[in-house]
Symmetry: C2
Subunit: 228 residues, 2 copies
């Protein structure tokens, strides 16, 4: 049961939002950034937001190595480069939770449109790029970064995760379920990331139209308290 | 405000489920089928399920012509052929609510995988094929046919609809909102159907994994009663 997590790209909106929520939930967070100074600044900012939290700022390489569970939260534009650089730092047995979304915005297109990724999805691209024995789970595509960062906002939504190994997904769910108001739902194999990632485009479209920060709930599932 | 609707393909699971729910909601339903006799049988079956409902069985061509609002509920495999045949029956000013989903199952693939449609989505293919002046709204991809047909099941989920005209979407929403427990959410322009249609694959994956009939709820929106 990991009580610690590394977040690569925690200077970004989603990564920082996750950092402060995990900090609030008592999970020790190692914030990774390309620049170690910048990581230290983000950790300091997180400490100001959550004085009781445990935050550490490190270079991406150090952050990727120190925890079993590593969250990748970078723009699609940077995903390949970051994963290339992380390859020497990651080792077999680690779990990468990829949150990357191939929005057309990465190449100047609309944020509601998707790019076609040869491997099928950003997550499958990640799985292809990580060292042997590192496994990828995909998730967190529908959770608003702004809602996460706004600690006064009461979260009440589901986190869809997919991956090829049930035990991996259980470990990721155990971590994310620590955040108050989030419930993980296993939505299938890693290839389902093609659909799950596109939900970011859907949420952006809904948010623009309804001026809100929407989330997703899957109905028809047992309530969290009743889950095994 | 349409109190009547035609459903092309109401012998199928989704179409029949919609028919009995609309019948329950006091909406007169014209059931269309390639074969008028089969349509009459489906109407009879709907009447047995909802004795107070108004159901009429007609050939697709008649069904498509008699109501302003026409729901297309056929397998992707048949969508092109049906739309070709309907072309003489449809006329400018009508609204087609397309529910078609290009699942890979149409060509013997998995029901959780999508086919690439040259136009982008089944709905955009429909828009290309209907006569000038007929407008397409896309929706109902996440609602379980079995849950609709099971009148003892209390629905409690959202229906995502997209289209290029707000007034069209308002008209569709007005109809669908008559069904108890469903709430329409405008999720954007017709091109968003590429994402919305793929949610059927997602729901099938969730249902297989969790042995349920899942639905979707968008959080962060005003509750139905508070909507304008």
């Amino acid at each position: 049961m990991p009580a610690a997590v590394s977040i690569i790209g925690a200077s970004g909106a989603l990564g920082f939002g996750l950092a402060v929520r995990f900090g609030t939930a008592g999970v020790a967070v190692t914030i990774g950034s390309r620049d170690a100074d910048r990581a230290a600044q983000s950790a300091e900012r997180a400490r100001r937001a959550v004085p009781a939290g445990t935050f550490d700022g490190q270079s991406n390489a150090v952050a990727a190595a120190v925890n079993e569970l590593v969250i990748l939260s970078v723009p699609f534009r940077n995903q390949s480069e970051v994963l290339n650089n992380l390859r020497p730092a990651l080792s077999a047995g680690q779990l990468l939770l990829d949150t990357t979304v191939p929005l057309a915005a990465a190449v100047g297109g609309k944020a509601t449109r998707m790019l076609g990724v040869w491997q099928g999805s950003a997550a499958e691209q990640a799985q292809e790029m990580v060292p042997d024995g590192v496994r990828v789970v995909s998730g967190l595509h529908t959770v608003s970064a702004a809602s996460l960062a706004d600690l006064d906002h009461r979260l009440d939504e589901d986190v869809l995760i997919c991956g090829d190994d049930r035990e991996d997904k259980r470990r990721v769910a155990e971590l994310i379920d620590r955040i108050d108001g989030l419930r993980c739902v296993d939505v299938g194999r890693l290839e389902i990331a093609r659909i799950a990632e596109s939900l970011t485009g859907l949420m952006i479209s809904i948010n623009a139209r309804h001026r809100t920060r929407a989330g997703i709930r899957i109905s028809g599932l047992p309530r969290p308290a009743e889950r095994p």
